[in-house]
């Protein structure tokens, strides 16, 4: 079980801020494929990975990063703070 968090328009498109997911995916990309297959709103949110960022346990990561040992995955658009 892994906590998956969504922020900004990813959260709005999927319709929830976080969920717990049972996944067998070995990488972030594998998890994205599973999510896309779940429902149309996930497919829409993850349509273009180049406009998304991912953090693993609150550290920025790549989509090909392994999920082993990770407790929290977050998906969000490029940051716009400051």
């Amino acid at each position: 079980m892994i906590d998956v968090l969504y922020f900004a328009w990813v959260r709005e498109r999927i319709g929830l801020p976080r969920e717990r997911i049972e996944t067998g995916a070995e990488t972030v990309a594998g998890l994205v494929d599973e999510l896309r297959a779940k429902e149309e709103r996930y497919a829409a949110a993850f349509a273009d990975l180049s406009s998304l960022r991912v953090a693993l346990d609150q550290e920025l990561a790549d989509f090909n990063a392994p999920l082993a040992g990770v407790r929290e995955v977050a998906f969000f658009p490029p940051m716009t703070g400051g």
Binding site: A8, A55, F76, M79, T80, G81
Partner: protein, 146 residues
């Protein structure tokens, strides 16, 4: 160093004064303040979402790096989230160093990193609806100089 992520407004003048009074031996203090622009009256509010937990960690990491790299006497970051009106202060950064070049560089470095590496997302709310602010290529490019 101090990092604060909060929805409450902060007292810019008091923060700058207290930060400056607290640095010992520094000759240069730089502060940056980001304000909500009104975009010629088109913007009625700004909403800032963040990633609690990661935000503080990410900013503390940036500040620690800046302190080391420019031998800062001290550094401060305050960043708000939630709903803000035009004219309100979104965030501030302050840096203190022996010399002005280091204080300026560290403040610009922190701003560039906060813009693109701290997990905040801005939504502009106007008469025509609400829009997430798109990240700018120029902000991503700004990181390359460091």
């Amino acid at each position: 160093m101090r990092v604060a992520v909060q929805s409450a407004a902060f007292d810019l003048g008091a923060e700058v004064a207290a930060f400056t009074a607290g640095v010992r031996g520094a000759g240069a203090v730089v502060s940056f303040t980001g304000l909500v622009r009104d975009e010629g009256g088109k913007l009625s509010a700004m909403e800032i979402e963040h990633y609690p937990g990661m935000t503080e960690k990410a900013i503390s990491g940036m500040v620690g790096e800046a302190i080391q790299r420019w031998s800062l006497a001290d550094a401060l970051v305050i960043h708000r989230h939630g709903r803000l009106a035009p004219g309100e202060a979104i965030m501030m950064v302050a840096t203190a160093a022996a010399h002005r070049g280091d204080a300026f560089s560290a403040a610009e470095f922190l701003m560039d990193y906060l813009k693109s590496r701290a997990p905040f997302w801005k939504k502009e709310i106007g008469a025509g609806g609400a829009d997430w602010v798109a990240a700018k290529d120029s902000d991503e490019d700004a990181l390359k100089r460091w």
